[in-house]
């Protein structure tokens, strides 16, 4: 089985969010990590490799520095890394990004493509499904569990999460899955894996390596989305403190509040 896992290097929001004066993220000033949903997707791929045997290629688009997440993925057990980087691809929104990644994927042989549900910097959840559309592949989003793989029939069975239930879906491969963070708990890298990852070559592709991609669909020019303004999360207020109620009055008070907000 050949699996491609698409990962993104994102700012580590735990270390605080830093903005440029124009409202865009100051990525250089923030620590960078592998996007958590993507990492869960990578772990799911590694578990498939452990169970069924697989070759895992990790693909990322970003600045040259994004090489780090590919090394990390290889140190966890992925076999190959491909970095798509080119000034002409800069400023891409989700459309231009998915066009670019699909253009890279057209060069590869795969049975399964796994992406994270969404990245913690943009939170759009659009790139995975868009990749599937560009490549005309079946897709399951919000995957919370991989149930099994039928290698002979080339199908994979997964659980797709909803708010209050899940759906078990069997899908024909090749296909695209978008992984939830809870799909799999990522393993640690190994020290030896890190050394090997830095001994290996990472393949670097530019604009000219993308297959069947129009210049009008990539980079800033190909991006229909314009970001007007970005801001940090709005902090919640201090809340309300009631200290003068008996336990039963407190229950009634909380239930009343929840009903008023139509939560229950």
């Amino acid at each position: 089985m050949k699996i491609v896992v698409c990962v993104k290097q994102v700012p580590d929001t735990k270390g605080g969010v830093v903005f440029n004066p124009d409202g865009t993220l100051n990525r250089a000033a923030m620590l960078a990590i592998m996007n958590p949903d993507d990492k869960a997707g990578l772990e799911a791929a590694l578990e498939l490799k452990d169970k069924y045997g697989a070759e895992i290629t990790v693909l990322t688009m970003g600045l040259p520095k994004a090489d780090e997440v590919l090394r990390e993925a290889m140190a966890m057990g992925a076999d190959k890394g491909i970095l798509v980087t080119d000034r002409r691809l800069g400023g891409a929104d989700t459309w231009a990004t998915s066009v670019t990644i699909a253009g890279a994927l057209r060069n590869l042989d795969y049975d399964l493509i796994i992406t994270g549900r969404q990245a913690i910097d943009g939170d759009t959840a659009q790139v995975g499904p868009e990749i599937a559309e560009h490549l005309h592949l079946p897709m399951v989003t919000y995957v919370q569990k991989v149930v099994d793989v039928d290698e002979a029939a080339k199908t994979i069975t997964v659980e797709r999460q909803f708010d209050d239930r899940y759906m078990t879906v069997k899908v024909q491969m090749p296909c695209v899955l978008t992984a939830l963070g809870e799909l799999a708990k990522p393993r640690y890298m190994t020290p030896g894996g890190i050394f090997e990852a830095y001994d290996k070559e990472v393949t670097v592709w530019g604009r000219d390596d993308l297959k069947d991609v129009l210049d009008s669909d990539i980079g800033k020019v190909g991006s229909p989305t314009q970001i007007a303004k970005a801001s940090d999360k709005v902090r919640k207020g201090a809340g309300e403190k009631k200290t003068d109620l008996s336990p039963s009055e407190a229950v009634d008070y909380i239930v009343g509040k929840l009903e008023a907000k139509h939560i229950i």
């Binding site: 393993r187 190994t190 020290p191 030896g192 890190i194 830095y198």
Partner: protein
């Protein structure tokens, strides 16, 4: 000379730090209180490859260098001195002598299980009457008529005792005359396995620090082994022990360094939060200067420890580098953790605060695997010969 880590070492450090903060830190206080050996952490470390960092890949290890290994011990010790010494004793004192002095058969037989963490290792030289003076060793191995070795005696203060599966031990196998015509005992090293007939465990020690590391007495009562269990040549036990301890001292130096750095990190955070006389105590120059001094000592210790790791990677003998690293890092650990408790005031004396445990854990680094005074003997001996 370059004092910066390259990318792979920097990533390895981030791995160890991440692991220690997520898996080791949450248990540190509980296992200290209850003296519980953290078996689950050992299993997690095994899975992540931490039990065979410096063992070559051909023997199932990670194939990394001594610097990577010391960074692992250092990061573990920042959170828990016990967890660090479990890895150090296993790696430096059991895997390393088997790798260095073992026959190919012994390496194939023991290293894959040890390096993968399926089995845990230990080292036993110390006896009630033989600490710094190895000549006091009473444990004897005698050849019987069938050519087997029969081992009798006991060892004390053995780290990973009872928990470990494989033990590198030392026994007297004869005598010789030294240059001055005095009779000297001659030792031989052996590899013993838990469960061998006659090999049992005595008392578990109740210690001041590193309380969750299992420290046991080993008892050998007619333990019969063939020559296949002999590690290195007959009569070469003493140089094997000394060479092994040179490596071990780098591990303990890294443990001491981690304890000092961990205490410093906590003290910086605490003194910025703790307010007296209307301002954080870090705003008082007395506190600030003490922190500057603690940080400078930690940095100096780190350079010595890393230089010793580099010496181990590139030189056959590194006794002086290892001795200096251990002497200085252990002293630093004791000074910095003591100052950390002082700067925490009354809270630092309470068990809820990590610095209390770290100060207790630090003391042993000045004692085991050669006391600070032994390091001074080693260093001065090389300079004044």
């Amino acid at each position: 000379m370059d004092f910066t880590l390259d990318k792979k070492h920097a990533m390895a450090r981030s791995l160890f730090k991440d692991f220690a903060e997520k898996e080791v830190k949450p248990l540190a206080q509980e296992i200290d209180e209850t003296e519980r050996f953290p078996r689950e952490t050992v299993e997690k470390m095994a899975k992540a490859g931490f039990m065979g960092i410096a063992v070559p890949k051909e023997y199932g290890g990670q194939g990394c260098d001594p610097l990577t290994y010391v960074m692992c011990i250092e990061e573990l010790a920042k959170q828990c001195g016990t967890t660090a010494v479990i890895v150090s004793a296993h790696s430096s004192l059991c895997c390393d002598p088997i790798l260095t002095f073992g026959t190919e058969e012994q390496k194939q037989r023991y290293l894959p299980d040890l390096a993968s963490g399926r089995k845990l290792g230990a080292f036993a030289l110390t006896e009630p009457g033989a600490g710094t003076d190895a000549q006091g060793v009473q444990t004897k191995a005698v050849k019987d008529e069938e050519g087997n070795w029969v081992i009798n005696g006991s060892k004390c203060f053995i780290t990973n005792g009872k928990e470990a599966d494989v033990y590198v031990i030392f026994a007297q196998t004869g005598t010789k005359l030294d240059k001055k015509g005095r009779t000297q005992k001659v030792f031989t090293a052996f590899i013993l396995e838990k469960g061998m007939p006659g090999f049992t465990f005595g008392t578990k020690e109740n210690k001041m620090g590193i309380r969750a590391s299992a420290t046991y007495e080993l008892v050998f009562n007619d333990v019969k082994v063939s020559d296949a269990q002999r590690l290195g040549a007959e009569g070469k036990g003493f140089p094997i022990a000394m060479h092994t301890l040179d490596g071990g001292r780098i591990g303990i130096a890294a443990q001491a360094l981690g304890l000092a750095e961990g205490a410093l990190d906590r003290t910086i955070a605490y003194t910025k939060e703790r307010k007296q006389f209307g301002r954080p105590i870090s705003a008082f120059q007395n506190t600030a200067f003490k922190i500057a001094d603690m940080a400078t000592k930690c940095q100096a210790a780190q350079y010595l420890v890393y230089a010793a790791a580099e010496a181990k990677a590139t030189k056959d003998r590194y006794s002086v580098e290892a001795g200096m690293a251990k002497l200085y890092a252990a002293r630093t650990a004791m000074e910095v953790t003591t100052e950390a408790v002082q700067l925490h005031g009354g809270y630092g004396y309470m068990k809820e605060y990590d610095v209390e445990r770290m100060m207790r854990d630090a003391k042993i680094t000045e004692i085991y695997e050669g006391t600070s005074e032994v390091q001074e003997m080693v260093i001065s001996g090389a300079l004044l010969k």
